[in-house]
């Protein structure tokens, strides 16, 4: 048969995992498990072979290596398809906006845009499910598939350590059965439409999968990327936080970063932690990452550069544009009104700001 030299999971271990470059997105496992090959699993944020025998059973198809966001091949083609020419990627439009939904304002981060987008998509029956991230009782982010907007509240806000958002797709057949049993409209699991929310590296993996048009990413109908400066390792982060604030992870109500790191306990005690003290907990791959706004998505959303109470929205594709247009038209979100004297310079200023943030990240 003579198939060319294909890189496999063993190469992934050598090139990415063993050098601490794995971002624990879960793509490799989501693909492999979806194919029912049954050889790799996620173990404490590290993909590995399930058993000693698993390595022999590996099909050596190469997908895990090539869809990994941290590998080189496919990156050029991906950039070509996503019209990425610089560090910000393809930008059709950029502006700031916020939700008009009172409930979301309460729980949301900054503009509450992501929660509002998902609310809209569920309301108009444009998606059947969404992949989001929720904190468990120990403040650990867990990726979750939700089927209706009522489950959105728990996923609002930023997650401050890794959530392997692509991992739930490994059980796509079960997810499909669950949805199809409720929605007669769907006659084929290929018709599912799932919204994906993730960090730039995770969006990169999803986009690579969509480039190849493979399961299980074929059901992802919209990709929403979040701005990401750095992310933390859960174990190390909670260790440092607990030692600095004496608040046990199970007692944390809310966290946020505003120059420094703030922890609010369930008894509403607020403690501040110097952001530099958390440096040790930053995941290694974040140091090598050049994506701040995330370039391989339909929309990129984040707080950086936006006025208080608003979020920045970067529209990258026609799909993203028509989605945001609908949200504006139906009044789910409202634009930030730029003061008259700032209009002409507002956009280039924000672009420069985001480029600056990106270069800051890279310099790290």
């Amino acid at each position: 048969m003579g198939l060319a030299e294909i890189k496999t999971f063993k190469n992934l271990e050598d090139d990415v995992i063993s050098v601490n470059m794995c971002c624990a997105c879960g793509a490799c496992i989501a693909y492999c498990e979806n194919q029912a090959f049954n050889v790799i699993e996620m173990d404490n944020y590290t993909p590995k072979f399930k058993t000693d025998k698993s390595a022999e059973n590996c099909k050596e198809c190469g997908y895990c290596y090539y869809i990994c966001p941290q590998t080189e091949p496919l990156l050029d083609k991906l950039k070509e398809v996503h019209l990425v020419k610089d560090e910000l990627g393809n930008v059709i439009d950029v502006f700031a906006a916020r939700t008009t939904n009172a409930k979301i304002k309460e729980v949301g981060q900054d503009g509450g845009i992501v929660s509002t987008i998902l609310t809209y998509l569920f309301d108009t029956n444009n998606i059947d499910a969404a992949i989001v991230s929720e904190y468990d009782e120990n403040f650990k982010p867990m990726p979750k598939i939700i089927y209706n907007k009522d489950d959105l509240a728990k996923s609002a806000g930023t997650r401050y350590s890794i959530s392997s958002n692509i991992l739930p797709l490994k059980d796509l057949t079960q997810v499909a059965e669950e949805i199809i049993s409720h929605k007669k409209r769907i006659y084929d699991s290929d018709q599912l439409r799932i919204a994906f929310i993730g960090t730039p590296c995770q969006c990169r993996a999803i986009s690579k999968m969509k480039l190849l048009n493979i399961k299980p990413a074929h059901v992802i109908s919209v990709v929403i990327g979040l701005f990401c400066f750095e992310n933390f390792d859960y174990n190390k982060l909670t260790e440092i936080l607990e030692s600095k604030t004496q608040i046990n992870p199970s007692k944390i109500k809310k966290t946020n970063i505003k120059k420094n790191f703030f922890v609010t306990s369930k008894d509403d005690i607020v403690k501040e932690v110097n952001i530099k003290d958390l440096d040790e907990a930053v995941r290694n791959h974040c140091h090598e990452c050049d994506e701040f706004v995330g370039r391989f998505s339909d929309l990129s959303i984040g707080a950086s550069g936006a006025p208080t109470g608003y979020s920045m929205i970067l529209i990258r594709t026609e799909k993203g544009r028509s989605l945001i247009d609908s949200l504006l038209a139906t009044g789910y979100i409202e634009r930030y009104i730029i003061p008259a004297d700032q209009i002409s310079e507002w956009r280039p200023k924000k672009i420069n700001w985001l480029k600056k943030m990106t270069s800051l990240k890279v310099k790290k």
């Binding site: 048969m1 198939l3 997908y63 083609k77 007669k184 493979i214």
Partner: protein
């Protein structure tokens, strides 16, 4: 019987091409059957049932497909297209481009393991009127002939990126062959050629948006409807609305969509009058509560048993026929089509809301027919169908090149089959008579 040294080349392996091939093969003449799709059978294989007998289409077609495949005198070339011809009647030489299938035809056993393991998704399957997706290695339908899978070179990850190859590693018959290349074949000593490329679909070239097609999920074309009610189709024969999965209780069948019209095609598509009633009958068999409405200008049912068929539709299958002209279709909040029409029996403009609307779209000449006509040197008429004289019905403008079926003008299956046998007879005259 002395074996004829000359052969016949047939372009197009739909029901007409297949019938002509079988007749000529049975006469002892060698046939080269050229088909551009990866499998033979054409549009007839996609239908659920056929009028007026209500036979299951693939059930009566499949034996002919098998016969063609096994016939000692018939050579089938799929994924092939004629590029050039030289010579004249009695002695043509034809150059054929045979595209790579990437699967060895003599090794593949059609078990389907490759398609199951291929992770690629999202490629619409033309056979299911693009209502279902298939993997990069596929066979359009299970009983297809040749019974060999195909790799779509545009979506195959190995062919484009050099990774995967899961089909190859999982194939127990070692039938996957990524090294295959497109090849040019030269076929000599062809005595006569029969051109039978069939017809094209209007919806492929025209958005039909004034009828709500593609805007409203409950407006479908007749071919989509055939696949939806077919037991081997995406819904496994349980008809549901595509917008919400509800069983439709009221279906409208709109004839003359894009035909008999100054706006689109002026001619009559011939078969819609019969197949709309047929479709309504099949839908009624699935759901006895169904009300069907057929919107027509003139009911055209001249074939054998056709008038009786229509009467049965009205008497036994709850079909109401409305002589009318359709203006447009709008959409309700629950995505139900609302049809605006002029009722010719009362001269009023009316509106009817239905659960599902089926558009009987006009049959147009096969895609690529202009190029084919150019290559063969034959004339097309003003409608772009192959030009024939009414009293020399199977002859093209080029001696030795014959034609039959919907390549000439829209017609039903019995006529296509008869024409195919007719073209075969004329070709046989050339081969045997000289």
């Amino acid at each position: 019987m002395v074996k004829n040294s000359k052969s016949v080349l047939i372009i197009g392996a739909g029901i007409a091409g297949i019938q002509a091939a079988l007749d000529l093969g049975d006469m002892g003449i060698t046939v080269h059957l050229i088909e551009k799709n990866p499998v033979i059978g054409g549009k007839m294989a996609q239908l659920d049932k056929t009028f007026p007998t209500l036979d299951c289409s693939i059930c009566i077609l499949a034996p002919k497909l098998s016969e063609c495949y096994r016939h000692p005198n018939i050579n089938i070339y799929t994924l092939s297209e004629v590029q050039k011809i030289e010579g004249s009647i009695g002695d043509f030489t034809v150059e054929v481009l045979k595209r790579a299938r990437y699967v060895k035809e003599d090794a593949c056993t059609n078990c389907g393991d490759c398609a199951k393991i291929c992770p690629v998704r999202g490629i619409p399957n033309y056979f299911d009127a693009n209502l279902k997706n298939m993997a990069a290695v596929y066979i359009p339908f299970p009983s297809a002939v040749p019974p060999v899978h195909i790799i779509d070179k545009n979506s195959c990850v190995y062919l484009n990126y050099g990774i995967c190859g899961l089909c190859a590693t999982s194939c127990g018959a070692e039938a996957i062959d990524f090294t295959q290349k497109d090849e040019i074949l030269e076929i000599e000593k062809i005595g006569a050629i029969i051109v039978a490329p069939g017809y094209g679909l209007m919806e492929d070239v025209n958005p039909l948006t004034k009828y709500g097609y593609k805007k409203c999920r409950n407006v479908v074309t007749s071919l989509e409807f055939e696949r939806l009610i077919c037991a081997s189709g995406p819904l496994e024969g349980h008809l549901r609305r595509l917008s919400d999965g509800v069983d439709p209780k009221k279906i409208a069948f709109l004839q003359c969509i894009g035909s008999r019209s100054d706006r689109d095609q002026k001619y009559c598509s011939s078969i819609c009058c019969m197949y709309c009633t047929k479709a309504a009958m099949i839908a009624y068999e699935h759901n006895n509560d169904l009300e069907s409405y057929v919107f027509y200008i003139d009911m055209r049912a001249g074939g054998k048993g056709f008038q009786t068929f229509l009467r049965r539709g009205a008497d036994e299958y709850n079909i109401k026929y409305i002589k009318s002209k359709i203006s447009q279709i709008n959409v309700d909040l629950d995505e139900s089509p609302i049809i605006t029409y002029e009722d010719y029996d009362t001269s009023e403009i009316k509106q009817m809301k239905v659960d599902l609307a089926v558009l009987a779209t006009c049959i147009i000449p096969s895609q690529g027919i202009e190029k084919l006509a150019d290559v063969l040197g034959i004339e097309l008429n003003r409608y772009n169908f192959i030009k024939t004289d009414p009293f020399l019905p199977v002859e093209t403008s080029m001696e030795g090149i014959f034609t039959c079926g919907c390549a000439r003008e829209p017609m039903d299956i019995p006529r296509s089959v008869a024409e195919a046998s007719g073209a075969a007879a004329r070709a046989a005259e050339v081969i045997k008579g000289g």
